[in-house]
Amino acid sequence: MQTESVLDHGPGEHPDLTEPGGDAVIVALYDAHSRALHRYLARRVGQDLADDLVAEAFLVMWERRGDYDPRRASARAWLFGIATNLARMHERTEVRKLRAWGRELGRGLDVEPPDARAAAAVDAENDVGRYAEALAGLRQEERDVLLLTAWADLSPAEIAKVLDLHVTTVRTRLYRARGRLLKRGKP
């Protein structure tokens, strides 16, 4: 029985959601991936929006289950692709948050660090702050592939499939995004 299989062994990486028992499978996927997805989204658009977008991503996944081809991508990758599309609607929020966070970190201390170790920690924070601001300055499509790689652990091939891009395009965007970040994120 499908439900027992899901409960016993998890939803699997490439489930067929259109089969009988697909409802149990997607709930199992929710149990397995919602928290990781929430973390990815919260880092991008903030905690409150992430609450809604996680639920939304799974609803979209369920409603579009007929479009999912398990041979093309894992359910997890597809889910993160859907969530990335949803988060794209909140680009302004994402950029605003990244800039604010970057400024906060990059502001440094008002007093001189007491020792070399503290000074190094402050420098490290400044570096991350600058990087966050540089990340906010990337084009949306570059930021998407970069963060799907770095924060969602998707491979370029997986990203290409779930965002319906050629893998060469994904690699090009990644290359450019890293280059810009390293250039803009320097002190």
């Binding site: 709930v27 919260a42 905690q47 929006l49 977008l53 979209v60």
Partner: protein, 311 residues
């Protein structure tokens, strides 16, 4: 590359974990969706930062004002979670001229019990409408109370009073709060059979790419401005159940019907499931500043113009 990964990994790495409440809420929504097998829906939040609406739909939506009573809380969060795949948002759609066999939403099923308070021939139906407009930041707030006294013979003179002023004879259209306000003789002639009513309404905008939205606005006008009686609300709700892209939610006491007009504008009707009476409406502009126009309704039967029902 290592330095790049370290820096990128450190950005906002300290976000809080998903709360148990959010986890359970999302799970519950998913379970509901898998059980109901309803039409696609996408959350309203996904629509907030998209481009502006089309002029056609904007004209229809902008003409709609909301009305209400009760002075209760403004339902900023009452707009239900909504429809349309995120990658390709479409809101307006054409409608077939004849009502399809299969309903597209549960409006007709959920609003099966429709009634009005009994009214003697010499009594008047009392409807109070309170409208509140506010921005999300709370800088602006307008409130209007309009009371109506409607005779048993709906063709007779209607009376109204706004914000406690003088009672005046008015037709519904003189305080129009809807896109289209029908004359009473037109309302009287609307079919009471749902199929015929559906056909009559869709015939007003044949082949329109926004037919579903125009249908929704027209139905809202009948409820808000014409305050149509139970005998017309029954077929109206059944016809609405065949209108594409209406989001229907039911909490056991109230049924909400929501239509998204574009990226920035949604409207919701809240209807009591006990008697099918319109309880409130809301129109939300999701742009900046976010604006909510909320209206609530209160009903009664009184013996004279100017009287309010005793509670």
């Amino acid at each position: 590359m290592t330095e790049h990964n370290r820096l990128l990994g450190a950005i906002r790495a300290d976000v809080e974990e998903m709360s148990e409440e959010a986890f359970q809420s999302g799970r519950e929504r998913l379970l509901t969706a898998t059980k109901n097998q309803e039409l696609p829906r996408v959350h309203r939040l996904a629509e907030r930062e998209r481009p502006r609406r089309s002029p056609l739909v904007a004209a229809a939506a902008a003409a709609v004002v909301v009305v209400c009573i009760g002075g209760g809380a403004v339902y900023l969060n009452s707009a239900p979670e909504v429809a349309v795949p995120a990658a390709a948002p479409t809101y307006g759609t054409t409608m077939p001229p004849e009502m399809p066999l299969q309903p597209l939403n549960r409006a007709g099923e959920l609003l099966g019990k429709v009634s009005d308070q009994p009214q003697l021939p010499n009594q008047l139906r009392y409807v109070a409408e309170r409208t509140i407009v506010r921005e999300s930041a709370g800088q602006m707030r307008r409130e209007t109370l309009t009371e109506w006294w409607i005779p048993g013979n709906r063709d007779g003179a209607w009376s109204s009073r706004r914000d406690g002023g003088a009672v005046e004879l008015r037709t519904p259209s003189s305080l129009a709060s809807a896109a289209v306000v029908e004359a009473e003789h037109v309302v009287a002639q609307l079919p009471r059979d749902p199929r015929q009513l559906y056909a009559a309404i869709t015939a007003r905008f044949p082949s329109s790419p926004s037919a579903n939205q125009l249908f929704f606005s027209y139905a809202k006008s009948l409820l808000v401005a014409n305050k149509v009686p139970a005998e017309l609300r029954v077929p109206l709700f059944q016809a609405l159940s065949h209108v594409p892209r209406i989001e229907v939610r039911n909490n056991g006491v109230e049924v909400s019907l929501t239509m998204y007009f574009d990226n920035d504008v949604s409207e919701t009707l809240i209807i009591g499931s006990r008697d099918g009476r319109l309880l409130s409406t809301s129109r939300t502009f999701w742009g900046s500043p976010q604006t909510l126009t909320w209206s609530g309704y209160e009903y009664g039967v009184v013996d004279a113009v100017g009287e309010r029902p005793t509670r």
